[in-house]
Every structure is written in structure tokens, then in C-alpha cells.
């Protein structure tokens, strides 16, 4: 026996949230809720496990292949376990002009990792513009946004990650 995908509470949350999503679209367009549905699954499980993808496909009356086609197109979806902290560092032009490349190097040293490498604890990666150009440099830790970063601010942020 493999472990069930959800606890009872998680199952209820999944069912409830999917039902709300489906009510936002025409009845014959259930698969339109693909992005928000995948987000529900990922919020509950931390990633998109294969059994969960089957369940999403069933509820949205579509194929598992469709789920993967969408999940692998968008960078915020994780079809593999991403590590406890996903750290997205913007290195695009506006941020680079305010020290983003140095910030990324500083973090690689500090977290003892290489950008783009999935670690159990940290998944540090370069990302594209996060719409924080006037408040650069910036990064997101598990989608929480931080801007106007300095070494001092960054040290304080990283200290909180246990």
C-alpha cells in the first residue's frame, strides 16, 4: 500500500477549492481552470506529484498529458520536489545595474550552492524581471517578495530560513 496523496483535511481543501474554481468558468470549459487548479495542488503538496496530476485531470475532465503540458510550460510549477526554500533572484537589466549579479554570487557562497541546482533545503535560481525595477535589487523566497536589498538586509532574511 502506498501512502494516500492527501490527508482528510487536505482532501477537503482540494475538493472545496476545485469546486469554487470550476464555478468561475462555463460548464463545458472545465479545463480552463488548469492554472489555478495546479496552484491549489502545489499549495497543498509543495509540488505537483503524479497522483495529484491524475486527480486534477479527472476533475477538469481532461488528460494527464494536458496537465503536464501546462505544468512544464510555466516556471512556477514544480513537477519535481523543489527544496524547502525556492529563492528566485532577478538578474535582469534593471536589477543588474543595482548589483544583482553580485547579490547572486554572495548568496551562492553564503548558502553553499550553485544557482540552478536543486538542493534539499535551497533551490536558488536566477529568474526574470519581477516588476520591482525601481526598487532593485530584488528576490522572492517561496513567492514572498523582498526589494531594495543590501548585504545587511539579505543577511537578516537568510538568517530566518531554518
Amino acid at each position: 500500500m502506498s501512502e494516500p496523496l492527501f490527508t482528510a483535511a487536505e482532501q477537503k481543501r482540494f475538493d472545496d477549492e476545485i469546486a469554487v474554481l470550476l464555478s468561475h468558468y462555463p460548464n463545458d470549459r472545465k479545463s480552463a481552470s488548469m492554472l489555478p487548479a495546479l496552484r491549489v495542488l502545489q499549495t497543498i503538496k509543495g509540488w505537483l506529484p503524479p497522483e495529484g496530476m491524475k486527480l486534477v485531470a479527472e476533475r477538469l475532465e481532461t488528460t494527464v498529458a494536458h496537465c503536464y503540458e501546462v505544468a512544464t510550460f510555466y516556471v512556477m510549477f514544480h513537477t519535481e520536489k523543489p527544496g524547502k526554500y525556492v529563492i528566485d533572484v532577478c538578474t535582469n537589466l534593471s536589477c543588474a545595474l543595482r548589483g544583482a549579479e553580485g547579490m547572486l554570487k554572495y548568496m551562492e557562497q553564503k548558502l553553499n550552492t550553485h544557482a540552478g541546482t536543486r538542493g534539499e533545503k535551497y533551490f536558488l535560481r536566477e529568474t526574470e524581471c519581477l516588476a520591482s525595477c525601481g526598487t532593485a535589487p530584488c528576490l522572492q523566497i517561496n513567492e514572498d517578495h523582498h526589494e531594495n536589498l543590501t548585504k545587511q538586509k539579505l543577511d537578516a532574511l537568510l538568517e530566518k530560513l531554518s
Partner: protein, 446 residues
């Protein structure tokens, strides 16, 4: 000097409780929606928007009222119609819509009510980029607040007009800011742009007539109906009504998001004490990207240009999404362009060959030149690849389904043309003349 004296879009930013229904309503919020619903016919609303010279703030600057008028009449097309709001702000250099969602979300929601009434749309989807965790949370709360206070639902503001508004969050794909890719994504698919025609106004979301408008565009509507279309048109310059939000970033003393007049010049934006406050000590302007990273770069000699939409045409550039990126004279042009090229290579959706193959090719050539391994022939190849994706000038001749092809080619073409010597120096010296400091005065992490 033309520094904006009256704030329009940012008037209420930061005032207490502005993000909530109560605070917004206390400052006169939702009165314009009520007025429009009870005293105007939908066609009159569209006419007013046309007269106001409101133009799309997402990048193209297309006249908003004209866009609305492409939706066929109910007699000709009985399908439901939709409004989709583009809040997928992701053009590098652009950070403005995010602040409308955070500081004044009901301004957008009131604008949505006005637009949907004009279009006969009973459903609106707001497509926000996936990375906007906080702005999206504020917007979700505002939508719930508006429902709870009888704005949306079966009876819009108590009238017989039904309107539902939903927020959908993207998941990290620049291409979904392109309007047909946005519609594909809203339909639950990967963001592959559609061939046009048919245009979304006729065949859009779920095959129905759909208008896609930017956040800032729709948020301007309550102001237009508060003070009149003529006032809004006069406030602007030439054929661009109203004011603009611009994001100033890079090598300036005071980067940030500012509201400016259409007749404010680029020079004023960079140097005025109200805005950028000038360059770092002892430095001058080397280059300015005027409208998000896809807009052709300007030199220091081209900064008298006004920020109004049509003013950029003689310079073969564009006002775009208002993302102004300033580079000082200690910044490496090759390194800067390489970073921009990497972005378009990364974000190409893979559908059209010239873009899918060409963008990474340009990025590889730029890396080669930046690292001192380039040959003069590489510059010709670089330009050839760019011209094969989208010949320039003028803007808009791309060989791809959507404008992402052009967006990646334009920076390459304009940088190489205007700063050719910088590229040649890398090649003849076989190294980057800026050494390990390519990013200008503020490029060190401190």
C-alpha cells in the same frame, strides 16, 4: 519645464484605507460607475472613451475606445462577451500595474464595471502574473469587499446589469502578457500566441468577443467620467490623453515609479528633483531604454523626447510599457544587451522558428563578443539573425506570430547600430574594456 502639477492616477496612493472598499468609497469611489450605469447608454460610454484619447498602457498605445468598437454588435454576434484585464506585468523595466493593485485596487474594479457595461460583458477575468503574491492578495480582498458591498454580482451597483469578476493568477511566463497568449492561458493552456486575424474582439476567450486591456488603462476610466473626456484629452499631449505611470530604473540617483505628464521629457524624468534627480556624481548618460527592454535604445543626444506615445516614432523607438532603464557612461553596452537577449531567449515560447532559434543564437553571439572571443563577422551575423526575426526600422515587421520576435530583435538592432564602437572594441581588444565592472556606478552589491 513640464512637471506634472496635478496627480491623477496616483492621487490617492498611500491614503489610509484606500485599498479597502470603505476608504475608496469615502473619497468618492464608485460614484462614476453609478453615474454611468444610471445615466448613460453603453454606446455613449465608448464615445466618451474615444473622445478622451485614452490609449493602451500595456505597450502598444492603441486607442482604447477604438479597440472596444471592434466588438461586433449583439445583433451580429449573440455570443457572450468578455473583458480580460492584463495584469501580467513582466516587460523588464516595468513596475507600475503592481502598485495600482496594491494601493488602489478599487480604482481598477470601478473601471472594470464601466468597461463591462460599455461592452455588454457580464464576466471579467483579471489575469495577474503568478509572482504577484502580495498584490494578488490585496486584489482578491478588494474583489470580495466589492461583492460584499453590492457592487458586483447579479445586480451591478443595484441595477439590472449582471457582472462577475474573477482573478486568475499566472505561473511565470512572460509570453502570457501577449494578449492572445493571455487568452490561451485563461483557457487553461500553455501560453502560445494565436495567429491574427481573427482578432480577440471578434474571436477571443472561449471563441467569444473579448477585449483585453491593461490595468493602468482601465484604472483611468473613473477619472475620465469624473472630470470629463475633454479634460482628460487636454491633460495629455497630441493624441495621447491623460498622464502616464513610468518606472525609472538603473543608474539614476532616485529610481522609482512616477506619474508624469505626456509632455514631460525624458531629460526631465531623469534629472528633475521630483523624479530621478540625475546621474551619479561625475557620470553622464550613456544609453536609455525608454519603454521596457524591447524598446529600441536611445543615446544621450535623444533625451529631449516627450513621454507622449507618438513622440518616439521619429526616433524609431516606442513609449511601450513605460519602463525607463538608464545606463551611465561606465556601463558595458555589450553586457547589458547580452542580458536583455538572454531574457528573450529564455521567454520565447518556442512556437515560431525565427524566434525560437534566433533569440538564443543572438544571446550566444553576444556572450562570445562580451567574453573577448568575438570576430567582426559575428556582428554581421548578429544583425542578420535579428533582421530575419523582424526587419527594423520601422517597428512591427516581424516574421513571427506575435511581437516577442520583434521584442528580442529590436534591442539588438538598436544597440549595435547606435553603439557599434563598443562592440568593435570588445572584438579588437579581445576582452571587455570594463573588466569585472560592467554594470556601472551602482552595479556592485553592497
Amino acid at each position: 519645464m513640464s512637471v506634472l502639477t496635478e496627480k491623477v492616477m496616483t492621487r490617492d496612493w498611500g491614503k489610509p484605507g484606500q485599498h479597502a472598499f470603505k476608504g475608496y468609497q469615502e473619497r468618492g469611489g464608485y460614484q462614476q460607475l453609478k453615474k454611468v450605469l444610471t445615466s448613460m447608454q453603453p454606446a455613449q460610454v465608448t464615445d466618451e472613451v474615444k473622445r478622451s484619447n485614452l490609449r493602451g498602457r500595456g505597450g502598444a498605445g492603441f486607442p482604447t475606445g477604438l479597440k472596444w468598437s471592434f466588438v461586433p454588435s449583439l445583433e451580429k454576434n449573440t455570443k457572450p462577451r468578455y473583458l480580460a484585464i492584463n495584469a501580467d506585468e513582466s516587460e523588464p523595466g516595468t513596475a507600475k500595474d503592481r502598485f495600482i493593485l496594491e494601493y488602489d485596487p478599487h480604482l481598477l474594479l470601478e473601471g472594470i464595471g464601466i468597461a463591462c457595461y460599455a461592452l455588454g460583458a457580464h464576466t471579467c477575468y483579471i489575469y495577474a502574473r503568478g509572482e504577484f503574491k502580495h498584490p494578488s492578495a490585496v486584489l482578491d480582498a478588494a474583489i470580495a469587499d466589492a461583492y460584499a458591498n453590492g457592487v458586483f454580482g447579479k445586480k451591478l451597483m443595484g441595477t439590472d446589469f449582471e457582472l462577475d469578476v474573477y482573478q486568475v493568477r499566472g505561473a511565470g511566463a512572460y509570453i502570457c502578457g501577449e494578449e492572445t497568449a493571455l487568452l490561451e492561458s485563461l483557457e487553461g493552456k500553455k501560453g502560445w500566441p494565436r495567429l491574427k486575424p481573427p482578432f480577440p474582439a471578434v474571436v477571443g476567450l472561449f471563441g467569444c468577443p473579448t477585449v483585453v486591456n491593461n490595468v493602468e488603462t482601465i484604472a483611468a476610466l473613473p477619472r475620465i467620467f469624473e472630470k470629463g473626456a475633454d479634460w482628460f484629452a487636454r491633460l495629455g499631449a497630441a493624441k495621447s490623453g491623460g498622464t502616464r505611470l513610468v518606472t525609472l530604473s538603473g543608474s539614476v540617483k532616485r529610481p522609482g515609479t512616477y506619474e508624469v505628464g505626456m509632455d514631460t521629457s525624458m531629460k526631465e524624468l531623469i534629472f528633475d528633483k521630483e523624479y530621478g534627480q540625475g546621474m551619479p556624481e561625475g557620470r553622464s548618460v550613456k544609453a536609455v531604454i525608454p519603454g521596457g527592454s524591447s524598446a529600441p535604445v536611445l543615446t544621450a543626444d535623444e533625451l529631449e523626447v516627450k513621454l507622449e506615445f507618438d513622440a518616439f516614432k521619429p526616433l524609431q523607438s516606442m513609449a511601450g510599457s513605460g519602463g525607463v532603464i538608464v545606463m551611465d557612461d561606465s556601463t558595458c553596452m555589450v553586457r547589458s544587451l547580452w542580458r536583455v537577449a538572454r531574457f528573450y531567449a529564455e521567454e520565447s515560447c518556442g512556437q515560431c522558428t525565427p524566434c525560437r532559434e534566433g533569440q538564443p543564437w543572438m544571446a550566444r553571439l553576444l556572450r562570445k563578443i562580451e567574453e573577448g572571443r568575438g570576430e567582426l563577422a559575428d556582428l554581421d551575423t548578429l544583425m542578420q539573425v535579428a533582421q530575419s526575426i523582424a526587419p527594423w526600422p520601422p517597428i512591427g515587421l516581424g516574421n513571427t506570430i506575435c511581437a516577442l520576435g520583434d521584442a528580442g530583435a529590436l534591442p539588438v538592432q538598436s544597440f549595435v547600430q547606435k553603439f557599434r564602437k563598443d562592440f568593435e572594441d570588445h572584438i579588437t581588444q579581445k576582452r571587455c574594456p570594463h573588466g569585472d565592472k560592467p554594470w556601472g556606478t551602482y552595479g556592485e552589491f553592497q
